[in-house]
Amino acid sequence: MDPSAPDRWWEPFTQIDGTRIIHVDLAPHASREAAGFEQLDTAERSRSGRFQHAPARRRFVLCRAALRSLLCTHLNCDNARLSFGAADGGKPFALVDGRPVEVGFNVSHSGRHGLIALAPSGRVGVDVEERVPRRDLSRLIAATFGPDERADLAALTGGDRVHLFFRLWTLKEAVAKALGTGLSFDVSRFEIPAAIRSGATGDLFRVPQVRDVQWQLTDIGDEQFAAAVAQEAVGTSA
């Protein structure tokens, strides 16, 4: 390894059509966190200061610095010219020299894993979850899933149930994050298509409440984490 090469804590994970997914290593690493912090602007530094606890701060700093580097390369601009705004509902968007730019991106982090989705245009949402067993699984299932999804989950037990739970959860969350509605959209009001529920990696999908847009929905989980990406499908309006 070239000792003069800059330390990078992110690397390509997969690509779906034109959308690149990048994995961010969020393991504790003081010098990376310091280097990442250096890349942040004033608003981001003050946000990172508001996290009371080290792991949450680390996830934000390492993901945001990786996102900055990726966007600067994609947009061909210096880090100092890049900033972020938040749409209604909280979804971040990018600005160069204070003006919004056409690029779709979304970030997710869970435990030691971050994922960044980068699409040249159109909306995109990504979600990653480490599959940590939960004692309140039944409550979460009742709160977030529709009848057919609940029936699929009820047919399973133990690790298989946990696995499907996180698979469906990340698929739904990817859609909600693509829409940008944040927690205000009750995701139990739509269901993941049957083809994906029964094992297909991806499918085209419309949220019944938001029919004018079609999403390419893809399961990108691996043995370490559950993950999914939803990207706006082009030329497919209803």
Binding site: H53, L140, A142, A143, T144, S184, F185
Partner: protein, 81 residues
């Protein structure tokens, strides 16, 4: 009967993993649980626990506006029976 604040504090201690927080410590009234590093799975579970414990039905839309203990307590004091 304990105050809404005490009941919420007990629910936070039992249900939310706020890294660095010790049970029983006072809640930071204006700190969003999202900014405290709580994941969306935990936020959703907490939303349901609060509804059950207080016998109220808070919509996802409303709960998304009540992410600080201060706002949540004020809402419950105004709406719980």
């Amino acid at each position: 009967m304990s105050s809404t604040e005490e009941r919420i504090r007990a629910l936070v201690d039992a249900n939310l993993d706020i890294e660095g927080r010790t049970a029983g410590q006072p809640l930071t009234m204006d700190l969003s649980i999202v900014d405290a590093g709580v994941s969306s799975t935990d936020v959703v579970a907490f939303w349901k626990v609060v509804c059950e414990e207080f016998g109220v039905d808070i919509s996802a839309e409303d709960f998304a506006e009540l992410l600080t203990p201060g706002d949540l307590i004020a809402h419950l004091d105004a709406h719980a029976g």
